[in-house]
């Protein structure tokens, strides 16, 4: 079972950033807001997807310690946009300002959950993570890091639910 974590402080954010993920996963899932997350939720799931938020919704940054369970979790995790920023902050990265909105071409220097080479992705962010070290691998070219991985923890800054659904299917199936 997939645990989908809603990190939106705005209620309307659910429809735009969480529901599309629920519609894509194609298997059993349970959705929880990060403020309601229990240790049972984390024990009972097989994988976790942490979703994104609207452009100005950065409340999750104030609550990043609520995600420290990621440090010793062991199960596969995919962080999308805000989800990637949370992963980055938990593992020692720094948040920087950088706005990208709309379709951009990104180069994936090696296979990342099915993406390889020059790929068009959808961006919607005002911030990004830089400076992840200690075993984190960067999969994209360019100053703004688009995809990172360490072991079974993946982070993507772009929104695969818009035009790159295969990233989510691949994560769910792996």
């Amino acid at each position: 079972m997939i645990l989908i974590v809603n990190v939106c402080a705005e209620k309307l954010g659910y429809y735009e950033f969480v529901k599309p993920i629920e519609d894509i996963v194609g298997c059993d899932f349970v959705t929880k807001h990060y403020l309601d997350l229990s240790s049972e939720d984390l024990e009972n799931c097989g994988k976790v997807i942490i979703c994104g938020t609207s452009l100005m919704d950065n409340k999750f940054v104030e609550d990043v310690e609520r995600f420290f369970w990621l440090k010793n979790f062991g199960k596969p995790v995919l962080g999308i946009c805000a989800g990637m920023q949370i992963i980055g902050l938990v593992f020692g990265g720094k948040m920087k300002k950088g706005t990208e909105i709309g379709f951009y071409r990104e180069n994936f220097r090696r296979d990342f959950l099915g993406l390889d080479g020059d790929v068009e992705v959808y961006h919607l962010h005002n911030n990004y993570i830089s400076g992840l070290r200690n075993g984190w691998k960067v999969f994209s070219d360019g100053k703004i890091v688009q995809a990172v991985r360490r072991g079974n923890i993946y982070g993507v800054l772009f929104h695969p639910e818009v035009r790159n659904k295969e990233v989510i299917w691949r994560f769910v199936d792996e």
Binding site: E10, K11, L12, G13, Y15, E16, K19, P20, D23, S54, L55, M56, D57, T99, I101, G102, F103, Y122, L124, N126, E161, V162, R163
Partner: protein, 216 residues
């Protein structure tokens, strides 16, 4: 952002159901009937909808030139922020990255949120939700083969959805008209104090391109 069609009404309803206050409706009236950005409604009809919703209407007129439309929209949102103190804009965008991206950029520049509660939704699911929530929606424009003048005035109901399933498979018609295949107008929904009634109408067009202008 409000066009009077089913998507902007449903998005508006979802916002209200989630506890958001609808301060005003922003309606863009484009002189360009082929607008890339906007469903181009008759503002007099949208005014009737705003009245039965008890919500003020902000009308933005634009010549319809591609980039001017965006400047005009920005002006409209700015007015809504100043006059009504809005903290966010809700749109009915489902699939169009072109539309969504531009509104997101404008809102971000102006420091307000942009919400798209129908974003990436299955279009049949949207039609079913309209029926479930007892929306009374009629087709007021058709712009793609094989849709023709016989579709004008048709209600979105179970029969409509069944036919769309066939057309979607056979002709790749977007069932909710997200590709601009058809335009709709809402005569009643849970946001309205009372239902609107079409007193008279006139149809314009030919072949697979028709528009209905209604008087309410």
């Amino acid at each position: 952002m409000f066009s009077g069609g089913k998507d902007s009404c449903l998005a508006c309803l979802i916002a209200r159901e989630n506890g958001y206050d609808i301060s005003c409706l922003i309606c863009v009236e484009s002189e360009n009937k082929e607008s890339f950005m906007f469903h181009t409604p008759s503002v007099s009809e949208v005014r009737e909808q705003a009245e039965v919703m008890d919500v003020p209407l902000v009308v933005v007129k634009t010549s319809g030139n591609k980039e001017m439309e965006l400047m005009d929209l920005k002006r409209g949102i700015k007015n809504a922020i100043v006059d009504y103190g809005v903290g966010g804009v809700v749109t009915g965008a489902i699939e169009s990255v072109y539309q969504a991206t531009r509104v997101q950029k404008i809102c971000n520049d102006l420091g307000v949120e942009c919400f798209n509660p129908l974003w990436q939704r299955n279009q049949f699911e949207i039609l079913e939700e309209l029926i479930k929530k007892e929306f009374k929606v009629v087709v007021v424009g058709v712009f793609a083969y094989p849709l023709d003048s016989a579709w004008l005035g048709r209600k979105i109901n179970e029969a409509f959805v069944s036919e769309m399933r066939i057309l979607s498979e056979k002709y790749k018609i977007n069932p909710a008209g997200e590709g601009g295949e058809f335009e709709s107008f809402v005569l009643d929904c849970p946001l309205f104090r009372k239902a609107l009634r079409v007193k008279s109408f006139e149809d314009f067009g030919e072949g697979n391109s028709w528009r209905r202008e209604a008087v309410l």
